[in-house]
Amino acid sequence: MRRRISGGAVKESFDNLPMGLCFSLENGVPILVNRVMYGLCHAIAGESPRNAELFWQLLTEGEPRNGAARIVDGERPVIRLGDGSYRVFARRALNVDGRAVIQISATDITEAYCLAERLRKENEALRRLGERMRSYRENMDELTRREEILSAKIRIHDSIGRTLLRTRYALSEVDQEAFPGRNREEMAEAALDAWEDIANMLRSEQEREMARLPLDYIRETAAAVDLKLVINGPFPADGRAAELFATVASEAMTNAIRHALATEMTIEITETALAYQARFLNNGEPPSGEYEEGGGLGSIRDKLERAGGGTRVTVSPVFCLTVILPKEGTENEKRD
């Protein structure tokens, strides 16, 4: 049986497609436009589709109307309509019986776009959370130290209480009866020892208050191992840069002594608005043969790269380790 499909039936099916479709001649004159595309044209251009090429220009370069807006540029523009839904448009050139026909299609991507947008927002929230965690971890050491100080103070307080009691026993004739077999001198000796311990603990607390800067630390280390340390330029005062430079200096001192039998190390530091640069040189023997990075320098390179910086080693005429570190808060600083 031969089935006949009328033109009207084809148009009706075409109109009922969920996607918008428009076929036109190369000059933009519409040949066939379905109902969905017709509605989209009104929603975006504020008029019926009179010229498909002009409509495409509006989609890709123009300013959509009726509260619609282009969200994604390019060959597949995404338009958010006034009702909050999203459509992606595409344009294709077809060849129909030797005649060029332009097809413009519109697909509803509201659900997918909203899901992607939600994912993006969630990822952004996670990234911000990650940054907060990083900051928290950086402060964790300090928090831990403070907790330890608090517990130390509690210990000292308890210790003072116990020792006061012991001293009272030692000084009291009456309480001698409570400690049969121990004479007054022994009790006094024990009390004195306890007071000495407390004094030592309090001195420790005072030392903690006088925490040294990274630069003091490396100066003391160099002096202790009889290595002359010359620093030219501004060594960072405190913070991450100071700690990282002290770490590099310490590793450089170790290598200078171990490999080069050096007696002097020089650190040349320059500072710009964006970064610090430091060169670490020593007066020892430069490496013979090809230089191979050891574990210590590798670990330092990792730490610097995590902070957005880097290292470079040259071995001739002398061994020289160059370190670059962006200042905190600058654009170069890397958020790993």
């Binding site: 996670l126 990234r127 971890r137 310490s250």
Partner: protein
């Protein structure tokens, strides 16, 4: 005459340093020859000074890792005996120390007699390791219930990495990372990943960066 064991202590907490100092000085055959706050200069002193035994904290001043320093010292001056002495309960520290040839490992929870015993045995050539870190409660879970992969994810989470970054670093899919984080939240009953990460860091279950 019995040889005196020369000890270097790497400890940034003055209270703990003072306490261990007393302990060493009161013990026969040990002599404290150097106390430093940061592990970053531990190796240089080992190279320059006659040190026999190092008591090494893990989290030291200038954010220097005592474990990393210990591994370097075991390579450059292998005769020096090293004991890691830490309050961090991160099981990976134990594994890394053992794998890197560190002689002994001791938690600071140990009493004085126990620490002295480990020092003596280590100095005599013995290697003393606990079987596992002490078990602590994290939320509604016990630390022993968290397996290695979940602990690895927790460590990176506490370091502030996003799921994508954790996935890249641990060579897992993002889906797997999300699944592990969900498992951890379910086990511990913390309300969110921030609470979980903060608790893990405070308990010393994970020590990112060390």
């Amino acid at each position: 005459m019995k040889k005196e064991i020369r000890v270097m202590l790497v400890e940034d907490d003055p209270m703990a340093a003072r306490h261990l100092g007393f302990l060493v000085e009161k013990a026969e055959s040990f002599k404290m020859v150097r106390v430093i706050e940061s592990a970053m200069s531990a190796e240089i002193f080992c190279l320059k000074e006659p040190i026999d035994l190092v008591l090494m904290d893990v989290c030291t001043a200038m954010k220097a890792s005592g474990l990393e320093a210990a591994l370097k010292i075991k390579k450059s001056v292998p005769r020096i005996r090293i004991i890691i002495l830490t309050s961090q309960l991160d099981g990976s520290l134990l594994e890394r120390a053992r794998a890197g040839g560190v002689d002994s490992f001791c938690y600071k929870l140990a009493d004085d007699a126990e620490i002295l015993d480990i020092m003596k045995r280590t100095a005599e050539g013995e290697s003393v390791y606990p079987d596992a870190p002490p078990v602590v409660r994290i939320g509604e879970a016990l630390s022993s219930e968290i397996d290695r992969q979940h602990m690895n994810v927790l460590r990176e989470l506490a370091d502030g990495l996003t799921d994508e970054e954790i996935a890249r670093k641990l060579n897992l899919s993002v889906y797997t990372v999300k699944k592990y984080v969900s498992h951890l939240l379910l086990m511990t009953e913390y309300r969110n990943r921030t609470e979980l990460a903060v608790a893990a860091g405070k308990l010393g279950l994970v020590t990112p960066g060390y």
